[in-house]
Amino acid sequence: MARSTGDDAITLFHSLRSAYTATPKNLKIIDLYVAFAVSTALIQVAYMAMVGSFPFNSFLSGVLSSVGTAVLAVCLRIQVNKENKEFKDLTPERAYADFILCNLVLHLVIMNFLG
């Protein structure tokens, strides 16, 4: 049972990897950005675990800034992806403009919250 799960995991990994290389370049760039943002959030959490969470509002604003921009990038990816039938009449320029606007609001609030 464990052996078959292990085999499954390996075949899973390989098929995922081969499928992923087929995705278009602009989506891969967005994925890279998401990975960067999430890793920044994880680094901040690790730092908080070492140093303590005072002042809490600064910690929250830092983490939520990373997580927020990652989430917005995922939303952008969804809207730009040509395979999503629901968004086929949304131009990529409009999607990108929404992304920029939301990020602007996000970071303005973060700067107010940073203390």
């Binding site: 995991a9 098929s15 995922l16 995922v74 968004f87 999607a95 606007l101």
Partner: protein, 743 residues
């Protein structure tokens, strides 16, 4: 109600060609009075009709709330609005920075209150913005007028939002009916009359606005609408503590969509961006602080956030793999690990106390018996009692049976939007049943769902009426085939009703709706337009008698006491004393410190010498009591006295409730308990009352509110002296004597 049949289009081209000919004619009279020149295309006619109806509804919502302004004067009602008025006044005088960082030493003496950090600023900032806008436009109004009329203004705006929301859920006809219903619905009017300057007046607008924007975001999947709904949520958080309803209903709604298999990319985009941006914006309000990540009431939203990530990830992997067997294996691994991690995190958080449990106020919504046993202050507020059926009928009337009808229609045409309104309706109706005050939150949902029922029914009936001629003309119009089959189907389906039946039913619907309008206006006029601070009654000859005792007493305080005098009263009157009397109080309506209130309750329930010790320790110079024995006013302090005993006894076991009762009965006449007859509250209320004849044929000292002759008529005060009693004996103020000299 909104759409006219296509066949009218065939009539209009001839009319539009006639219009320029008509306007070109030189005769002024014929141009103005010719009906042909007014003929518009169907779309324009419909637009004109809709805009006219909306304008009329807007004005109606405003003017139906003006009864008390017309009958009495433009003043602030009740208790809580006085605090809001005082803070708004401070904001307009001192500016936003002073307001945001305000520490008030005039209430809760000697503790003080951090007002800047313990209020919801939305209402005050809104009123101040309106005031400053009017000032820029050179309208020199007093801030009090702006405060009085803020709630009706926002009620009108709510009708507009209800129209757009109805349009989003069903169609524009339902939107129009929803706007009309919510304009006059008593459940909403009760908290938004002119003068009721309270958080709910603005908060209901913010609530329905946020819900509308969120449903729009889910329907379109656009980031811009999600950003707008995040801002709507921010406005709601700044306005009212009831924002917890939004932050729990929306995750519940997302969960229901996930369970019913309606997960979509639009839902992902809408919820995630709204949650992150909304949470960040909400944490900017000092009173809310970090609750979004630390309080148990907000954890549902976070849980659903993580669940959505899991759903998205699984969806993406499934899309990449195109191989079901492999995907099943992957699904097994991921779901078990996700559930384990989630449960572990929640368990650790709750056990270690990091995630605080649900606070008493909201926990008592889930378990209604909790407050009565554990937190008497929450149980004592009359608005927190469970709702009686009569209240539902009083506040909703025909909407009560239109609500299930609307639910039926929603279930017939299930979509993301109708699922939302059904959930909002059902959850808000449950909470309205638990607490009277929450009928207000249920009102928009009930109005919207009832509007769907009304609009759909009337539409079906009118289609029956138009059915026969429609078959003849539909051959020539463009949408002919579909119209023909649908109308034919309708005709077969509606054979049992027939045209006469449809006309009769339409008259019935018209009758019901007009009855609703009459009822709503009557309720508004009779029940919800009293200012509470000014009382009115009918005199012996039928003339109206006004009791303005409260304001008389507060202005006496303002003009006849030293500026640093401290006034002790029950917490109900605290806000009014600080706002109108401008004196420091010991406890007020914020009720944030139970022990302090219990100290005051203990002082009121003790004998005079013990109470004097407590009053000296708090530097009290004046004591204010409210007494309704002369006028028959039943909301006075003697009727509230048992709550003082319970709250005081909750903290100081020396005060025992059975000491004040006789065989479980609460009496003030000769048979009352001896402790009751000699406690401070009794003495202050009935001092010199034994000499007064209140009613013809009754002995002196007859208490008209309790309907008995009082027991202890010969009251002597040792440590206090009477300072002021208002003209109808409603408010009585006593001065605390300084301690006697040593010899």
């Amino acid at each position: 109600m909104g759409e006219k049949p296509n066949q009218a289009n065939s009539v209009s081209p001839s009319a539009t060609s006639a219009a320029p000919a008509g306007s070109k004619s030189s005769d002024l009279l014929s141009r103005h009075f010719s009906i042909r020149s007014l003929k518009l295309k169907t779309k324009e006619q419909e637009l004109l009709l809709r805009v006219t109806v909306l304008c009329l509804v807007y004005v109606l919502a405003f003017i139906t709330r003006l009864f008390s302004v017309l009958r009495y004067e433009s003043m602030i009602h009740e208790f809580d609005p006085y605090f809001n008025y005082r803070t708004t006044l401070f904001l307009t005088e001192k500016g936003f920075y002073e307001f945001w960082n305000w520490f008030d030493s005039e209430s809760w003496y000697p503790l003080g209150r951090i007002i800047g950090g313990t209020l919801y600023p939305g209402l005050m900032v809104t009123a101040a913005l309106i005031y400053w806008t009017l000032k820029v436009l050179r309208f020199a109004v007093h801030i009090r007028e702006v405060c009085v009329l803020t709630a009706p203004f926002f009620a009108s705006n709510t009708t507009l939002v209800a129209y757009f929301f109805g349009k989003e859920i069903w169609d524009s006809g339902a939107g129009l009916v929803a706007a009309a219903l919510i304009a006059i619905c008593p459940g909403y009017i009760s908290r938004s009359v002119a003068g009721s300057y309270d958080n709910e007046g603005v908060a209901i607008f913010a609530l329905i606005f946020t819900f509308y924007l969120f449903v729009k975001a889910v329907n379109t999947g656009s980031l811009a609408w999600s950003l707008a709904s995040a801002f709507g949520y921010f406005y709601m958080v700044s306005a009212w503590g009831g924002y917890v309803f939004i932050i729990n209903l929306i995750p519940l709604y997302v969960l229901v969509l996930l369970i019913t298999g309606r997960y979509s990319m639009r839902l992902y985009v809408a919820y995630n961006s709204m949650y992150i941006l909304g949470m960040l914006l909400a944490m900017q309000i000092r009173f809310v602080g970090f609750q979004h990540v630390q309080s148990g009431e907000h954890m549902a939203a976070m849980g659903v956030f993580f669940l959505l990530q899991v759903f998205y990830f699984l969806d993406w992997v499934k899309h990449q793999l195109n191989d079901t067997k492999l995907f099943q294996a992957f699904l097994r691994i991921t779901v078990t690990s996700a559930v384990v991690v989630g449960a572990l995190a929640l368990g650790v958080g709750t056990a270690s106390g990091y995630i605080s449990p649900w606070t008493g106020r909201f926990y008592s919504l889930l378990d209604p018996t909790y407050a009565k046993d554990h937190i008497p202050i929450i149980a004592s507020v009359s608005e927190h009692q469970p709702t009686a059926w009569s209240s539902f009928m009083f506040d909703f009337q025909i909407l009560l049976f239109l609500f299930p009808a609307g639910l039926y229609f929603c279930f017939k045409r299930l979509s993301d939007a109708t699922i939302f309104i059904v959930m909002y309706g059902l959850t808000s109706m449950y909470f309205a049943g638990v607490m009277v005050r929450l009928i207000l939150v249920a009102t928009p949902a009930v109005c919207l769902i009832s509007a769907i029922a009304v609009s759909a029914t009337i539409k079906n009936l009118t289609q029956v009426l138009r059915a026969k001629p429609k078959i003849v003309h539909s051959c020539s119009s463009k949408g002919g085939s579909s119209a023909k089959t649908s109308s034919k189907g309708l005709l077969d389906q509606s054979q049992p009703i027939g045209k006469n039946g449809a006309i009769a039913l339409l008259f019935g619907a018209f009758y019901l709706l007009s009855k609703y309008a009459t009822h709503c206006t009557w309720v508004t006029s009779e029940a919800y337009s009293s200012p509470s601070i000014v009382l009115a009654a009918r005199g012996a000859h039928g003339n109206r008698v006004i009791f303005d005792d409260y304001r008389e007493a507060y202005f006496w305080l303002r003009q006849n006491t030293p500026p640093d005098a401290k006034v002790m009263s029950w917490w109900d009157y605290g806000y009014q004393i600080t706002a109108m009397g401008n004196r420091t109080v010991i406890v007020d309506n914020n009720t944030w410190n139970n022990t302090h209130i219990a100290t005051v309750g203990r002082a009121m329930s003790s004998y005079e010498d013990e109470a004097y010790e407590i009053m000296r320790s708090l530097d009290v110079s004046y004591v204010l009591v409210v007494f309704g024995g002369v006028t028959g006013y039943s909301s006075d302090d003697i009727n509230k006295f048992l709550w003082m005993v319970r709250i005081g006894g909750g903290v100081f076991p020396v005060i025992k409730e059975p000491d004040y009762l006789v065989n479980g009965n609460y009496r003030v006449d000769k048979g009352a308990a001896p402790k009751m007859l000699n406690c401070l509250m009794y003495k202050l209320s009935y001092y010199r009352f034994g000499e007064l004849t209140t009613e013809y044929g009754k002995p002196p000292g007859y208490d008209r509110a309790r309907g008995v002759e009082i027991g202890n008529k010969d009251i002597k005060l040792e440590f206090l002296e009477e300072a002021f009693t208002t003209s109808n004996w409603i408010v009585r103020i006593y001065k605390v004597k300084p301690p006697k000299n040593r010899w």
